[in-house]
Amino acid sequence: MISWIGDSIVSPSGFTSAENYEAAKARRSAIAPHAGDGLAEPYHAAVINKEALAAAFEQRCGSPAGLTPLEQAAILSVAQATEGTGINPASPKVLFVFSSTKGNIHLLDAEADSYDRNKLYLWHTASLIARRFGNPNEPVVVSNACISGACAQIAAMRMIEAGRYEWAVVTGADMASRFVVSGFQSLKALADGQCRPFDANRAGLNLGEAAATIIYGKAKGKAESAKSISLRAGSIRNDANHISGPSRTAEGAFLALNDILKHADKKDIAFVCSHGTATPYNDRMETIALQRAGLDRIPTNSLKGSFGHTLGAAGTLESIISKWALTEGLALGTCGFEEPAQDCALPVAAHNIASGGSCFVKMLSGFGGSNAALLFAKSEED
């Protein structure tokens, strides 16, 4: 168990956690049509305005020269998340953990001699972020497909619990490059318009861009934890079924849920924030996992309709939004969900609903048959 200390989201919905939470709460979507320059077809995605990002970066962190948009967004989110926490990111007791599926992969589109080739390596991006804050430790870098952002939080929890570090700065970041968009187009996985998680008419996902940082620390003593939220448990499990399609029996997702439920009473769970990509297969698979785990009477939502699928940032971004919702006593509605799907018999939250539970569950699934589940809880006195 580790304690939540701070957070920040940089996405097209806003450059702070508060703006992003308000957007999700209002079921506003940042997903918009894009021309698809250099692609076969146009596409819908949640894309950060890069000029606005550079301006926000300049105001908070100095010149963005030489930094890619991904690096700017990640650094900005770390700077904002650490602010006011009293934690010195330059301390050797702080570990930086970085989660990304594709990092600066957009550089492969550029002329080979026009950029520093090291920028193609995820460890280089992670080091650049950590060095920027004067941190002396080698960052931990997770690249575990779409569950990376959950794995990064689990890695932070384990390192802190093992006594290696006192605090962790966990950042997830990914961009909707031509590389990634063309790949998802070639897999026929993208929705024609806005995605519709768990909806009868769901027909694919939208990609999204974001950097999202959470600061964690050692579990607090009871006296100081009155209002804090903890990451209480996390589990990663493989389907052992197919590299690009989920298990029909939701094997890995079910096992991951089963692992974390050993640490919670189901009646305390306020809501489940699903992966909810809005592909036909994913949402049905998650329904089966929740049914098998006995969580199919608890409100479920998906945030993909607001932010798109932010890949390596999804785990941290959606945990932050859900943490804010738990704190406010809400289960957020699902942007894009209108008509319940027959194959997703779940109490999907269409609109924001008041919710008194003290815990929430975050689910993620990804290529390679990987699945993750996280359990977050308010401290016991709340």
Binding site: Y121, V142, N144, R158, S186, I243, G369
Partner: protein, 208 residues
């Protein structure tokens, strides 16, 4: 006590452990297709894999050869954790060649391999492992990080055994060093020193 029960290694020069009858056949260097065929495995999906997945697949075959099959419960709780420097860069470059602006035919079968963690999924599928699968990136082989990570996977309580590997592909080279770790009565005690010594035996001392 956690021990390194077995280990395997593959580089362009060597593969370990090889059954005696294959040693002469592989003496001229390691070609992954040739190694696959010599192991007499029937797994046609091998030929669809990218280099990183082929390498991990073969290292896992060498690692688990002769292991008792049929312990379904134990396999449900076996994890796979891999580390490397370049993530899936080789597959990334191969895919990016299919999206050149003048010659735009994006290949879905190449795209799915542009995630390093796919190799952990391929190993999980082949051996029916439903434990944790994770992929970490670091600038070089880091025995301390690997051993820390493996110990923490066991401490989390859901794993009976862990396959842990350094698995790197570069345009002109490749290397896989894979270990089977668990609470076994046999093997070397799990430590960064022992892991360093084992990989050095292969890399420097050429012990096969």
């Amino acid at each position: 006590m956690l021990t390194i029960k077995k280990y395997s290694y593959i580089s362009p020069q060597h593969a370990y452990p090889l059954p005696p009858h294959l040693k002469a056949a592989m003496a001229g260097g390691i070609d992954m297709g040739k190694l696959y065929r010599s192991l007499a495995i029937d797994y046609p999906k091998f030929f669809k894999m990218d280099t990183l997945s082929k390498l991990g697949f073969l290292a896992a075959e060498l690692l688990t050869a002769g292991e008792e099959k049929g312990e379904a419960e134990a396999m449900n709780d076996r994890s796979v954790v891999c580390f490397n420097k370049s993530a899936s860069l080789e597959a990334d470059i191969a895919y990016s060649k299919t999206i050149q602006k003048e010659n735009f035919f994006p290949s879905p079968s190449l795209f799915v391999y542009t995630l390093p963690s796919i190799v952990t999924g391929e190993i999980a599928i082949r051996h029916k492992l439903r434990g944790e699968t994770s992929f970490y990136v670091s600038p070089e082989w880091n025995a301390e990080l690997l051993v820390d990570t493996v110990r923490q996977i066991f401490a989390a309580g859901a794993s009976q055994s862990v396959i842990a590997a350094w698995i790197e592909c570069e345009p002109d080279s490749f290397e896989a060093f894979m270990m089977l770790i668990g609470n076994y009565a046999e093997g070397l005690p799990l430590s960064a020193e022992n892991a360093n010594e084992l990989i050095s035996d292969f890399r420097i001392h050429n012990i096969f």
